[in-house]
């Protein structure tokens, strides 16, 4: 099976042969940091381009098609424009919080990247409470949004931030419970173990009914958590112009924008790790020939394929659904999703205890 274990070990041994333990660690951290930052930059470019093309496809138009081949360099041009744009700070704004908020949101997005397993041997930090870490750290981003809304000294921003706070705190419950459903089956919070437990089949199929319910709830909840339509109340351009980032311009705005897309990538990565087998290829029972063919496709391709499929689904939501109202949004969570996911957790426990799953 395709693995990057060898590459990782080669780098490690080459470095430790010439450097001490501490220096090796430092150099490795530097390499990882550069990799993460470049992944972020590439993700931002690719996802923004993808969003524009998907929306263009849904809206019977062409989308960007002037800069580069089929408009592929459009996002680069947009980024350049944002970089050279003046970053204004409004009068009466809390300068420190105003400047710090986009960085906080970005830092959180980077932190959640740590335990994600891209393929066998390509994982930054395989900590034993990986899933718990992801849910815990992702909660911090709401502080960044609240900070941005409060510090902007703008009523639209404040309303957007308050909405976002209520929304993210609520929907984290359902997302957490949906994640727990899978943890019950895997009996581990470690991401690598969760992926390995799906060697024989993805949890979406192996754990049938509870997993499918959990998957649907998870997709709804993470769409809300990343402030995407139909739950984009924090931005709600027809109501609050741009919500919490109304006053942001230039690079600070770009950071919010990038963080949104990176967050989508991360939640889709978590979703595909838990429900769709992470980097595991698609296997069907005893069709050994088919399974062998599938094994030839590298795990990283599988992983990114699954992620981009989920991202496409989330973009599909955005360009087809109207937006919910704030009270309807909270009703949906507290009256429907939360009871269903609690019941689903019980169901999953029963299924796991009785061994009714494959």
């Amino acid at each position: 099976m395709f693995s990057l274990e060898g590459l990782k070990n080669t780098i490690h041994y080459t470095l430790s042969a010439s450097l001490g333990t501490t220096s090796t660690l430092l150099v490795e951290m530097l390499i990882v940091g550069i990799c993460v930052i470049s992944l972020f930059a590439v993700l931002g470019l690719v996802l923004v381009f993808m969003e524009r093309k998907v929306s263009a496809y849904m809206q019977i138009r062409l989308g960007p098609n002037r800069v580069g081949f089929q408009g592929s360099l459009q996002t680069v041009a947009d980024t350049l424009k944002l970089v050279v744009k003046e970053g204004l700070v409004p009068n009466g704004a809390d300068k420190f919080l105003f400047n710090f908020a986009p960085f906080l949101v970005m830092i959180v997005a980077m932190l959640i990247m740590a335990p994600i397993a891209f393929t066998k041997g390509l994982q930054m930090w395989d900590l034993n409470i990986g899933v718990l870490y992801v849910t815990a750290v992702s909660s911090i981003s709401v502080i960044g949004i609240l900070m941005a809304g409060w510090a902007s000294n703008n009523k639209y921003s404040l309303l957007g931030a308050m909405r976002s706070g209520a929304q993210i705190v609520s929907y984290e419950l359902s997302a957490g419970l949906a994640i727990l459903t899978i943890v019950i089956f895997t009996e581990s919070l470690q991401i690598s173990k969760i992926v390995e437990s799906q060697q024989t089949g993805w949890w979406l199929f192996k754990a049938h009914i509870p997993a499918v319910i959990a998957f649907i709830i998870f997709i709804i909840a993470v769409t809300a958590e990343t402030n995407r339509a139909p739950f984009d109340l924090a931005e709600a351009e027809s109501e609050l112009t741009a919500g919490f980032h109304t006053e942001y311009s230039g690079m600070r705005f770009a950071l919010f924008f990038l963080a949104e897309y990176v967050n989508i990538f991360i939640v889709c990565a978590i979703g595909s790790t838990l429900f769709l087998g992470g980097w595991m290829p698609f296997h069907i029972g005893h069709w050994s020939a088919f399974n062998h063919v599938m094994d030839f496709i590298p795990g990283i391709v599988w992983f990114f394929g699954k992620i981009f499929f989920l991202i496409f689904v989330i973009m599909w939501f955005r360009w087809t659904f109207p937006r919910l109202r704030i009270d309807q949004l909270l009703n949906l969570e507290w009256k429907y999703l939360l009871p269903i996911s609690m019941f689903n957790l019980l169901l999953a426990t029963v299924v796991a205890i009785m061994g009714w799953h494959f």
């Binding site: 809206q59 984009d232 709600a236 027809s238 109207p322 919910l324 109202r325």
Partner: protein, 371 residues
Amino acid sequence: MIEEVAATTEGDLVINIGPQHPSTHGVLHLFVTMNGETIKKVEPHLGYIHRSIEKMDESLSYRQFIYSTSRMDYLSSHINNHGCALCVEKGLQLEIPPRAKVIRILMDELTRIASHCLWWGALAMDVGALTPFFHAFREREMINDIMEESCGARLTMNYMVPGGVMFDIQPNFQKHVKEFVAHFKTKIGEYDEMVTNNIIFQRRMKNVGYISPEDAVSYGCTGAVLRASGVKSDIRKIAPYDGYENVKFEEPLEMAGDCFARYMVRMKEMMQSLSIVEQLIDNIPEGDFVAKTKAVLKLPKGEFYSRVETARGEFGVYIVSEGGLTPYRIKFRSPGFSNLSALDHMSRGQKIGDLVAIMGTLDLVIPDIDR
């Protein structure tokens, strides 16, 4: 305005929506007093696009002033022009040829469909769905092309003149209109699928922005806003003009009085307009497209009033003539102004998201309100 700020109690959030805001569709300024997300009071501030068209028209001749009305409600400029032409014809006691009448009705109904298409897309955009706007524009574009072909313009047509229409229709007119009708019939199902039957959209619309029939009448609402409260008010039925009495169509009514009722009335109106177009497109009589008039029009001394049903409601033209070359005084009764006055009544106690939805179903065109 300063008094209003002082009158709010402590803890109220006062927010200015507009004059530059994505959902006011123009330079409307709403002064909204809120308690958290709940609206306590909405106060529209007008005048940002006031061009004093009524005063300007006092120095324009009876042929010229019609064109200024295209700039009022630019989405139904045909129908505005029609109302003005009717009023002048009433003054001149001019009988217009049957061909001109049919062309006028056809153009009016196509305009109504185009206007409702835009409204549909904009309403969907107001409640957060961005895609329908482009789908609506696909159909609207076909109508604009038809208009461009026959009238020479796409938005401010200036096609109606006292006594008929300015040019005859182009030879391809009937073919293109038939193509449009066939195309639109296949797409209207898509509209329902995308927006009308969407559960989120229905939840956003139902039981939002209720107005009772009594209140709707007392606020002077007309058009779909009044018909959604169950009051028959279609000028084409009450006081038919230019041959509307000869075509078969229904006046869609809804009883609920909420945003969804207004939405449904307009959706049904599109179908009714389409059926009128279908009835008339093969029956355009031969003959003159404009009546013989004098080069210089002079209305006799007196007061003249005519009204038409635009895409937004009742549009009235009131001309006071002293017998000169220009009107002594002109007053337009625009539907948007009266419909906007009910906004405060409808949106009290609702959320800010509802305010946007209510504004969307009122179908406001700001130059129509400000004139």
